[in-house]
């Protein structure tokens, strides 16, 4: 009977092999994380697509997004619904191969320059003339359209009529009147104005526009410089120093709860919140644009919104484009549903906007008119790096009381460097 051989020790080769297998297993485990994409092969020959959304506040939107994806027959589409910091998750996702095929965002030039998104002119061609100018301008870089606008979201100031009447205040038409109104409406229970817990970064764009300036000029130079812009930023600082601003609310400016709970008499918010506000306050509210700085300035409504993009790293770009075309171009009833059945948004398609009954009466109609008259759309050349420097400038001016002219000079330097990098 042969003597059984004891367990032999590990040779170097065995060790390397075991190490390689373990490393591969660890790597595969990391790479195999759930990207929201359906498992390959689950739908026969159909492509498997992953679609990313940020979390909308309006009830029913997630179910709607899932329903749209399920209705699409030519590919398996899974929906990732992201609460919290969607921007950071998306930015990281677009760096990897585990990111989305189709996603919603706002276009900036850096995304195009680094090749993260593909042009969508071919799927847009037949219906391009039906999209409003702003929807196209916000998604166009070097003559190519990279995003299909899903919703137009005008942002303006909501105000409580009863509180205005009680304080004898009229809707302001200049920034000085806004500053005075915010002060007059502030009591020990209610603050005059809510523009976000960060002290008003969201007013960065409307305030410079109200002075007659802009973030960038037509030929892509810093447009927020000069004395009038400094004056516009100082007005926001004045409201902060007057203690007229609501700070530290449980929900931020995009959510209307501070306004509906009576914590503030005025709030910067979007059209999306109007159904909820109507439900809570009935007719006791109205809207007005961010007022003109003075007679030389202009009133402003920030015309934001979301667009859909196709990732250049998608495993099947053509299938992703086909899905986007089906969802946001061909199926007009779905865009109508998305814009009007939950919160209120203006459909970017002119034909749909014209027949949107819910937006043709009352404060909703007023908001649409304000958007038409005073709307300012995003400039794709304004990148997150520029926005970061600009926000630092605003924080220093508003919260620290820093000299606006000096802060503008610092922000201008960063923005100019970034513009040189992008445009040479």
């Amino acid at each position: 009977m042969p003597v059984p051989k004891p367990t032999a020790g590990m040779t170097r080769r065995d060790l390397l092999r075991a190490g390689a297998i373990t490393a591969f297993a660890a790597f595969a485990a990391a790479c195999g994380s759930n990207s929201g994409r359906p498992a390959a092969g689950g739908g026969g020959d159909k492509a498997a697509l992953s679609q990313w959304y940020h979390q909308y506040g309006e009830a029913g939107t997630q179910q709607a997004a899932l329903r749209y994806a399920k209705e699409y027959a030519d590919a398996g589409v899974s929906v990732a619904w992201t609460p919290g910091d969607y921007g950071s998750k998306l930015a990281s996702g677009l760096l990897s191969n585990q990111g989305p095929d189709v996603f919603e965002s706002q276009l900036n030039y850096a995304m195009v320059k680094s090749g993260q998104v593909v042009p969508l002119d071919d799927i847009l061609a037949e219906t391009k003339s039906d999209f409003n100018d702003g929807a196209l301008r916000a998604n166009t870089v070097d003559g190519k359209v990279y995003g299909i606008k899903m919703i137009d979201d005008p942002q303006m100031i909501y105000y409580r009529k009863s509180l205005f009447d009680k304080a004898g205040v009229k809707p302001p038409t200049t920034v000085d009147e806004l500053v005075a109104a915010a002060k007059a409406l502030t009591t020990d229970k209610v603050k005059g104005l809510f523009i976000g817990n960060d002290g008003g970064l969201v007013l960065g764009i409307p305030s410079v526009n109200s002075s007659g300036g802009s973030l960038l000029t037509e030929d892509n130079k810093p447009g927020f410089t000069g004395e009038r812009a400094a004056q516009a930023f100082s007005k926001v600082r004045q409201m902060y120093a007057d203690k007229s601003l609501l700070l530290g609310a449980p929900a931020d400016w995009a959510d209307p709860s501070a306004f509906t709970q009576g914590l503030t008499a005025m709030q910067w918010c979007g059209l999306w919140a109007m159904p909820g506000i109507q439900k809570a306050l009935g007719d006791d509210f109205g809207v007005f644009p961010y007022p003109a700085l003075d007679a030389q300035g202009r009133a402003v409504v920030t015309s934001g919104g979301w667009s859909t993009f196709v990732s250049a790293k998608s495993k099947d770009v053509e299938a992703a484009k086909a899905f986007v075309k089906w969802l946001w171009i061909d199926k007009t009833e779905l865009q109508e549903d998305w814009c009007l059945s939950y919160g209120f948004h203006i459909p970017p398609r002119k034909s749909l906007a014209a027949k949107a009954a819910k937006l043709q009466t009352g404060p909703a109609a007023e908001a649409v008119k304000l958007n038409t008259d005073h709307g300012v759309v995003d400039n794709p050349a304004w990148t997150p790096k520029m926005a970061s420097a600009y926000n630092d400038m605003l924080t220093n001016v508003i919260k620290k009381g820093a000299d606006p002219a000096a802060e503008i000079t610092k922000a201008e330097k960063t923005v100019t460097t970034e513009l040189s990098r992008l445009f040479g």
Partner: protein, 319 residues
């Protein structure tokens, strides 16, 4: 036949060559060593050393919105970060945070340990009560602090209490002048980590021999400050050093409470990790500058650790 050979028959090699037997035994142990340690080593390589190495590479390139850059920029990213007022200010924020949190945690956890150690009844209950917050997530605790205790409206807990005394509501997290935000930031971390350091001190206290106190009493020492000053504190030296070091390291890693309580846009309350997150992984996506900043921070941490080592005398023979 010995018991050993009865259990495991000797191999031909072992019977003929004792040296080979010893070698096989070591190889067997080596095999199991790698079975258990291998996955962790692989994890360390794949998830720590490889990213650090890649970060080093990225720090020499213009890497905006990409992790596979092509434009070499030399030391420019390092120069940019070292002259970036926001990065320098984030280091200042960390320093202020460390100045608050390290001594406070040390003193309060030691005080808690002394109190709980002296309790005669329900000792386990008290230890558990103070230790339980350690099991709570930083994110959850931060949200409770932000939404319930330190929100800036009239129905927040802190403002309600102030209201009883006629004090106006304070926007705790949204104001830098005065810098009220430090109160929620520091208290949330104290609440979360005091219990852990208290347990370390209790373990240290229980290692002190009662005979030392008895001898002191015989020599005329009074219970209280005298015995604490001349017996308890010196006997807790090793534990105290460990608590200080762990605290400082934890302060370096401050992220969750700042990010969840204040966010990443407030440039007056951004510790280095929050700022680097914003620059590299957040919306800006400048991985070149972010990597350079991360490596500068790593060097600073290493230097500070070496300095601590020097000051506390770790590694000396009498430790």
């Amino acid at each position: 036949m010995s018991v050993r050979s009865a259990i495991r028959p000797a191999s031909v090699d072992e019977t003929t060559n004792p040296t080979a037997s010893k070698s096989k035994g070591i190889k067997g142990n080596t095999f199991w060593f790698w079975v258990f340690v291998g996955p962790f080593v692989a994890g360390l390589l794949v998830f720590s050393y490889l990213p650090i190495l890649w970060s080093l590479v990225l720090s020499f390139f213009e890497a905006q919105n990409t992790v596979t850059p092509t434009k070499f920029v030399g030391l420019q990213n390092y120069v940019d970060m070292l002259t970036d007022p926001n990065f320098l200010s984030s280091l200042g924020t960390f320093s202020i945070f460390a100045v608050f949190i390290v001594p406070l945690t040390f003193v309060l956890s030691l005080a808690l340990a002394l109190l709980v150690n002296q309790v005669k009844v329900a000792r386990v209950f008290f230890r558990s009560v103070f230790f339980l917050p350690t099991a709570c997530s930083y994110v959850v605790a931060s949200l409770i602090w932000k939404l319930s205790i330190f929100n800036g409206v009239r129905f927040g807990l802190a403002n309600t209490v102030l209201g009883w005394f006629g004090v106006d509501q304070i926007a705790w997290l949204s104001t830098s002048d005065p810098p009220w935000f430090w109160l929620p930031i520091v208290t949330v971390r104290l609440w979360l980590q005091l219990g852990f350091y208290m347990i370390l001190f209790i373990a240290g206290l229980q290692r002190i021999s009662p005979t030392l106190y008895e001898a002191a009493y015989v020599d005329g020492a009074k219970p209280g400050w005298q015995t604490f000053r001349f017996i308890t504190l010196p006997q807790l030296r090793a534990t105290s050093i460990a608590v200080l070091l762990l605290n400082l390291i934890a302060a370096y890693q401050a992220f969750d409470e700042f990010y969840n309580l204040i966010g990443s846009t407030a440039n007056y309350a951004r510790p280095p990790l929050v700022y680097l997150y914003t620059v590299s992984l957040g919306s800006i996506q400048d991985l070149g500058r972010g990597s350079a900043g991360a490596l500068i921070l790593a060097v600073i941490i290493m230097l500070l650790t070496l300095l601590q080592n020097k000051i506390f005398g770790f590694g000396k023979a009498n430790d």
